[in-house]
Structures are given as structure tokens and as C-alpha cells.
């Protein structure tokens, strides 16, 4: 008996069923499979192959034996983490303001959040350099006000990179948090108040836990974007404070070392996955304990 007839004779509940709605996701999934998963798999495979096509972990050994690479990895992680944190701190209250605002004010904040996305990152990064360079507006103001004697270095610093990238990524933090904040039933806070909860207790035991899904989504977005950013660090800090993305580009473009390039890519991907999964687990755990 063939497998096909066997399947046909199986009781209905044994048959493999597809929820028709899942099919709606098929084009998207297929697209991702062809243009994301497949190339990525090939890339990872490549990181375990030497120039002759033999299996080798030489790329990883080479990468980790150079202390500069370790420093770059640590810096990349640090910048991404701090940029995400800065976004979160700025976005959280903004999301509440956005949810509370009505009419024109709400539209204004939304546009102010989204419009900067349409100004390309390159344009933005260049405009910052106008503001931040040694004869830029900020330094001129600082010198004029007598706060500093000499123009200080603003450009080409890690702080500038963190502040600059947080600026680009802010909407990706605000929007998911805003989406959950506006869903929160205002009567929950009222109920908490009548049960004897003061403003702090209400905020930390009702509002914060209910916004967690948005925070997780925002952190995942921004961290993934920040750890893999290339254009912003290239323009703001240059080679002085290279990040992993810049190393990857250099490996491919200058050294023509595909194994090293794909190795660093794999490491970058691993950090991103670890942080995104880790933070969501951590937050869910925090939510789960319901102190």
C-alpha cells in the first residue's frame, strides 16, 4: 500500500491539517526563505570553509586570536546596548504622551517620529557632522558661552555614535510601545487606585507589566538594527572606532577574505539573536514572577 492511500484512509483527525489562514503568510515566508534564510545559511556554511573549500574553523580561530577583534566585538555590543537603552529611556514617556495626545498634537508627534525616517541615514549623519564638528554649532556655542576654552571633540567619539544612532532608531522603539500603551484600558489604573495603590505602585505593578510586550518588541528592533549598523558608524566615528559591520565590509571589500567576513557575520548574528531572545525571556520572566 502506498503512503498516499494510507494517508487517505487514516482517520480525519490523524491527517495533517493546515489552517487556511496560515496560507496567508506563505508569500511572506517564501520571500524570507529565498532572500534571507537561504543566503544566510550559505554564508554560515562559508564561515566553516577555507579557501580550498575544506571544512575549517580557522576563520573563528583567526578572529578570536586578535585582541583588536575582541575589542571591536565588545564595542559593537556596548554601543548597541547603550543605544537601545537610550532609545528606551526616551521612547517610553514619548509613547505615553503620544497615546494620551489627541488630534493635532498626536498627529504632530507621530509625524515628528516618522518623518525623519524618510531623510536617509547618510543625509542625517552628514548633517550631524555639521553640528558636531570642531567649528560646528555646538562647539561654537560652548566656546562662546565660555563653558570650554577649546573646541572639544564631539565627532568621532563613541558617545556621538550612541546618541546619533539612538536618534535614527527612536521611532522603532516608540511605535511598538505606543501600540500597546494605547490598548491599555484606563479603568485598570483607576481600579488600582481605588484598591489603595498610589501612583508608583500603579505604574510599576500595572502599567509597566502591561507595556512589556511593546518594550520587548522595541528592544528587539532597535538592538538588531544597532548592532548591525554600518553607515552611521562609518560616517560618525570612522575607522577610529570600528564596529563589527565595518570589519565585515573590510574583510570582503579590501581583504577579499570571504571566510573571515562570513565568520564575523555569524558572530554578529549570534550576538543579536542571543540578546533579542535573552531580553524577551528576561522580561517575560520578570512579568511571570508578578512580584
Amino acid at each position: 500500500m502506498s503512503a498516499a492511500t494510507e494517508a487517505a484512509q487514516a482517520p480525519p483527525e490523524m491527517r495533517w491539517r493546515v489552517d487556511p489562514f496560515v496560507l496567508l503568510a506563505a508569500p511572506g515566508l517564501l520571500y524570507l526563505a529565498i532572500l534571507f534564510a537561504l543566503p544566510l545559511a550559505l554564508l554560515l556554511l562559508q564561515s566553516f570553509r577555507d579557501a580550498d573549500g575544506h571544512f575549517s574553523i580557522a576563520g573563528y580561530i583567526e578572529f578570536f586570536s586578535d585582541p583588536i577583534n575582541l575589542a571591536v566585538t565588545w564595542r559593537t555590543f556596548r554601543v548597541a546596548a547603550l543605544s537601545t537603552l537610550l532609545c528606551l529611556v526616551l521612547a517610553y514617556p514619548t509613547a505615553f504622551a503620544l497615546a494620551r495626545a489627541r488630534g493635532f498634537v498626536q498627529s504632530f508627534i507621530l509625524v515628528a517620529m516618522i518623518l525623519p525616517l524618510s531623510v536617509g541615514v547618510i543625509v542625517k549623519a552628514f548633517s550631524w557632522s555639521i553640528v558636531l564638528r570642531s567649528d560646528g554649532i555646538v562647539n561654537s556655542a560652548l566656546v562662546f558661552l565660555g563653558i570650554v576654552d577649546q573646541p572639544i571633540r564631539l565627532l568621532f567619539t563613541e558617545t556621538a555614535l550612541i546618541v546619533g544612532s539612538a536618534n535614527v532608531f527612536l521611532p522603532f522603539m516608540v511605535l511598538p510601545i505606543y501600540a500597546v500603551v494605547r490598548q491599555i484600558d484606563p479603568s485598570l489604573s483607576a481600579a488600582a487606585a481605588t484598591l489603595g495603590a498610589g501612583p508608583f505602585f500603579r505604574f510599576f505593578r500595572v502599567i509597566v507589566p502591561l507595556t512589556l510586550p511593546g518594550v520587548i518588541a522595541g528592544v528587539a528592533f532597535v538592538f538588531s538594527l544597532a548592532i548591525s549598523m554600518y553607515v552611521i558608524p562609518s560616517l560618525i566615528v570612522g575607522e577610529r572606532h570600528a564596529t563589527l559591520s565595518m570589519l565585515i565590509a573590510r574583510s570582503y571589500l579590501f581583504f577579499r577574505d570571504a571566510q573571515l567576513g562570513s565568520t564575523i557575520s555569524a558572530i554578529l548574528l549570534l550576538i543579536a539573536i542571543a540578546v533579542v531572545l535573552g531580553s524577551s525571556l528576561l522580561l517575560r520572566r520578570f512579568e511571570g514572577t508578578r512580584v
Binding site: A190, A191, T194, L195, G196, A197, G198, P209
Partner: protein, 375 residues
């Protein structure tokens, strides 16, 4: 006021029948130009369950929010158990609220929801589990302690909301249309349950509803609210037999409702011209005054020979509705006016739709109100 000297709260707790445990004094609230609650006075005795009845939008929820401190009053004073709470924020008032939509915390399970108020008040963690258990047992929800609240039915959520509100031992419990989302049968069960639960606890409570039947069945005293004011505050029998205003007449129970003009005014008697003809009844209006005439339907006889001292109208019958234990006879309505009689099962039905019948009632059963100023 009986008490001019300040009585310590502890003494009042002894409960020597202080007339006003909750006292709302000349409280007003406006949103912009909309005056939602208008110099309102309202009082509830200790241990009493009172209903606040009124149509949607009359300000019931706003009054509850004022009492619970979720919004501040523009003017007036609110006192609970001798404590002036007018200026206190909600979390310091010790007034629990059961919200219309229950407002259970979706991120907490049943027992965590009930424990919330205890934690917020800093109750020792060792005391919380037993308090929560008792509260859940009280509303027969012990078996659901570990369930997420999203998995509960409406009636179960309702019970959890009540347990959560009571476990903190509030001075006062406010319930905002708590059963409006439940089907009729469940609603009736819950009404009975709630009533006995509050009685056992000796809880002072205000029960808000827009359903007059519910108001009358839940409590012994009903405050009828309209347009931000309390129109009448009385027991159900008084509300029904002696409505204080045309609004109460129409809102509570079924009634004849006739607009008319006084054509003759005598010594305590007036004659009123209505769309069904003239009628004479006791009253003190001047000639030419616009009035509203009401009669409760069970006072009206149909088709009987009117005795002396009866007020009589004759009108074409539109419908005879047999409702089992009773029968309603409706005259053909003219404009906003309607004439309706209720006959009991033992009464002989002598009329049919399409015929003209005499509607008669004892003259003193006629209720008269000055007509609304607005046309």
C-alpha cells in the same frame, strides 16, 4: 444635622444609627460647560445597600467617580464614616469600586487580582494568602484561584471583581452597573447573591443601574437620578405610588401619561382638558396651567360602570395584551400621550381592540405635575 460636635470614627463604628454614613453634600462637577453633577445631596446609612437609578448619561458613573476620588469635585463635600474625604486621592479613601467592565488586571491571575489591593496597602505577605482564599470562597470562586482572568466567563469575572473590592475591607463599596453585561437569568442570580453577601458583611454600598427592575429588587431605597440631580430618594413603594416628578413617574414603572391644560379650578379640584377629553381630579393648579396627568395602570378599571368620585375618560382601545398573570389594555395613543390600564387575572375583560371603552380610576389616584417648561 444631629451631630454638631466631631465624633471620632471609632465611636461612629459602634453604629448608634448615625443617619448618614456616606454623605454627599452639595457636590457639583462640570466638564467645560457641561454640568454633569449639579449641587447634589445624597446620603446612605451604615450597612445600607442603596440603588442609584437613572438613564444612561444622567451622571451616575460621574457621581461614583466623585465619591471614589477618581475625579475631584468642583464644589461640595463628601464624608464617609465621619471622615471628610473630599480632598483625598482615590488610593487614600478606602472606597472600593466594582467597575462596569470589571477592570480585572489582565496580567494577573484570579488570586493575584484579589491580592492586589492587599499588597498595595502593604499588608504583611504572610496574611495575604488566607485573606485571598476567604474572599474567593465568599464569591464561590475558590476553584479558579490559579486561572488567568481572560479565561473566565462574564459572571465569573464579576465575582472576582467583587472579591477584589471586598477583600481590602473598604468603608464603602460602589458598584457601577455590575450586571449590565450579563444575561437576564444570571443577572437575577447575581442580584440575590450580592444582596446576601453584602448583608452578611454589613457592607455599606451604592449600586448603580439604569434598570429599574434591578434597582427595585436589589435595594430598599432607590435614588432616581436625572440630569445630574437626584429627583427622588425613597423606598420602591413610594417611588411607584407617589413619584416626586414627571420624570420618576415615567422612569419607574408603567404609567398613563397625558399632557393637559387646566380649564377649571375649584376648591382643591381641577378640571383638565386632555387629548382623550376632560377629566376632574383633586389638584391645586390655576386655570390655564399646563399639567401632566399620570395614573398607575393597576388603579384603572376598564369598561366598568364608574362609581361616584371616580375620574373617567373614554378612549378607543388599541391593544389588549395578555401577559399571563395580568392584562394590559392600551388606548390608541395620541401624540406623546398614552393611557394604559392593568387588569389582574381575576378581572373580567370586557373590552376588545377596536372598541371604545371607559377608563376610570379613583380620583385620588391621579398624579399631577406641572408640565416641563420646554415645549
Amino acid at each position: 444635622m444631629l451631630h454638631t460636635t466631631k465624633v471620632p470614627v471609632a465611636d461612629m463604628a459602634a453604629g448608634t444609627g448615625d443617619p448618614a454614613y456616606l454623605s454627599v453634600e452639595k457636590v457639583s462637577k462640570a466638564y467645560g460647560a457641561t454640568r454633569v453633577v449639579e449641587t447634589l445631596d445624597f446620603a446612605v446609612e451604615r450597612g445600607e445597600l442603596v440603588s442609584l437609578l437613572g438613564p444612561s448619561g444622567c451622571g451616575k458613573t460621574t457621581l461614583l467617580r466623585l465619591i471614589s476620588g477618581l475625579i475631584g469635585a468642583d464644589a461640595g463635600r463628601i464624608v464617609v464614616g465621619g471622615r471628610d474625604i473630599t480632598k483625598l486621592p482615590a488610593h487614600k479613601r478606602n472606597v472600593s469600586v466594582v467597575f462596569q467592565n470589571y477592570a480585572l488586571f489582565p496580567h494577573l491571575n484570579v488570586s493575584e487580582n484579589v491580592a492586589f489591593g492587599l499588597k498595595a496597602r502593604g499588608i504583611a505577605p504572610s496574611e495575604i494568602p488566607s485573606a485571598v482564599e476567604n474572599a474567593l470562597a465568599l464569591v464561590r470562586m475558590s476553584d479558579f484561584a490559579g486561572r488567568p482572568v481572560g479565561a473566565l466567563s462574564g459572571g465569573q469575572q464579576q465575582r472576582v471583581a467583587v472579591a477584589r473590592a471586598l477583600v481590602v475591607e473598604p468603608d464603602l463599596l460602589l458598584l457601577d452597573e455590575p450586571f449590565s453585561a450579563l444575561d437576564r437569568k444570571l443577572r437575577e442570580t447575581m442580584q440575590v447573591e450580592l444582596k446576601s453577601l453584602l448583608k452578611t458583611k454589613g457592607m455599606t454600598a451604592v449600586f448603580v443601574t439604569h434598570d429599574q427592575e434591578e434597582a427595585l429588587s436589589v435595594s430598599n431605597r432607590v435614588a432616581v437620578m436625572n440630569g445630574g440631580r437626584i429627583e427622588q430618594y425613597a423606598d420602591p413603594v413610594t417611588l411607584y405610588t407617589r413619584p416626586a416628578s414627571a420624570f420618576v413617574l415615567d422612569f419607574v414603572g408603567l404609567s398613563t401619561h397625558l399632557a393637559g391644560t387646566v380649564t377649571a379650578a375649584g376648591e382643591g379640584w381641577i378640571t383638565v382638558d386632555t387629548s382623550y377629553g376632560e377629566l376632574t381630579c383633586p389638584g391645586h393648579f390655576t386655570k390655564g396651567a399646563k399639567v401632566l396627568v399620570g395614573v398607575r395602570p393597576e388603579r384603572i378599571s376598564v369598561g366598568a360602570t364608574p362609581a361616584d368620585g371616580m375620574t373617567v375618560l373614554s378612549a378607543p382601545v388599541a391593544d389588549v395584551m395578555h401577559l399571563g398573570s395580568k392584562t394590559h389594555v392600551y388606548a390608541v395613543p395620541t401624540g406623546d400621550d398614552r393611557l394604559v390600564a392593568e387588569l389582574s387575572a381575576s378581572d373580567e375583560i370586557r373590552v376588545a381592540a377596536g372598541t371604545t371603552a371607559t377608563f376610570s380610576w379613583p380620583a385620588e389616584a391621579t398624579l399631577l405635575y406641572p408640565a416641563e417648561a420646554t415645549p
